[in-house]
Symmetry: C2
Subunit: 219 residues, 2 copies
């Protein structure tokens, strides 16, 4: 990217990560951990291979990612975030929180992946009852699956299935995520396609961080 040529830390940051796709590459590496080229390409539907290749070189030059040749049995190169790349997490959190308002509309050709189902509760909800026993919620949306583990005041998530969840939420991505982020309540959610099985009372433990939504509602 052409530099903005401004001695301002925001402009400087955008000089480095302001290019198209760049922050989404960081998002992929942040949520999935070390990735192969093809993993990244699959996780970023729509990106051209040459563009991904070029971005990875730029990010490596900027010391945001590092490439390492995996040990013999795997024999592939893995890309992973450096400490400086990891330090972009607050930026992605702030962007993701602000962008929640645009999740109300879901277009039919939107891509959707399990990681994106997982990071929202991990980043944008807290455990409202830290003293309660641990609990596990299974999420299913558009065939993508993720697990929320609540306990000790923490909300952790991962992709995949849980062995014995206390609660299963299944429905369109917009409904599942809308419920978790506090944009829809559970009665509304079941009316527009959510299937609930297990202990719906657990949902009261997940307290959404509704910073800007609350601000918007105040107007």
């Amino acid at each position: 990217m052409r530099s903005y040529g401004q001695y301002c830390s925001i402009a400087r940051a955008l000089d480095v990560v302001g290019d198209r796709w760049t922050l989404l590459i960081v998002r992929e590496l942040l949520m999935r951990g070390p990735c192969r080229f093809t993993d990244l390409k699959n996780g970023l539907p729509g990106i051209a291979a040459n563009l991904l290749s070029g971005r990875l070189k730029e990010l490596e030059d900027a010391a945001l990612i590092s490439r390492e040749d995996a040990p013999p049995p795997i024999a592939t190169t893995l890309y992973s975030l450096t400490e400086n790349g990891l330090a972009l997490e607050p930026v992605l959190k702030a962007l993701g929180l602000w962008g929640l308002q645009y999740m109300a509309v879901e277009r039919p050709d939107d891509a959707f992946q399990a990681q994106w189902l997982a990071y929202a509760p991990a980043w944008f909800t807290t455990d409202a009852d830290p003293d309660a026993p641990p609990a596990v919620i299974q999420l299913v949306a558009s065939g993508e699956q993720a697990v929320i583990e609540i306990g000790e005041g923490q909300v952790r998530t991962r992709t995949g299935r849980a062995a014995d969840p206390d609660l299963v939420l299944d429905g369109p991505p917009r409904v599942v995520l809308g419920l978790l982020t506090g944009m829809i309540d559970i009665s509304g959610a079941t009316q527009i396609g959510l299937t609930v099985s297990g202990r719906p009372d657990l949902l009261t433990r997940l307290r959404p961080i509704v910073e800007d939504q609350a601000a918007a509602r105040r107007t």
Copy 2:
């Protein structure tokens, strides 16, 4: 900007504010308040008029800014942030904090403005001694002037001159900002061009938020 087509709040946010110049326009409006077209153009050295015009239309369509015709005596249109535009402040803060590391090098043709001198202490430092009496620091760098007012646990800033500052810092932008954000100490700063007059002890009251710098140093 072409949509990423992903049902992910980060991608959605970037669909709206990921275009070149867009976040810097928000930065200008956030720091300067309501602006005229020409104010924005002057505050964004290097932007083309047609591009600014186009971005303002897009931002208005996205309800991040609003245009209002100022009352008769002024007879011009003012652009200002809507509440949703103001909600981008955490994004700019996170970006600006992460970008501080790139302020160590200053290129000779970098543009520099008083607002950028002012926001760094306001966003990235805290008052380490809330019970101490109020104090005023005058900043001067490359002819640009800003004022820091510390008091009651708050660090407020504005551009311009103070009537009777307790401390005056004058030097190259890199040195003044490096000192305020904790990247240089005062003895180092005076060696590379900082002029100090008044009470340098006030600097101990400004505690930099050195989140990522501290993390980088730990390695």
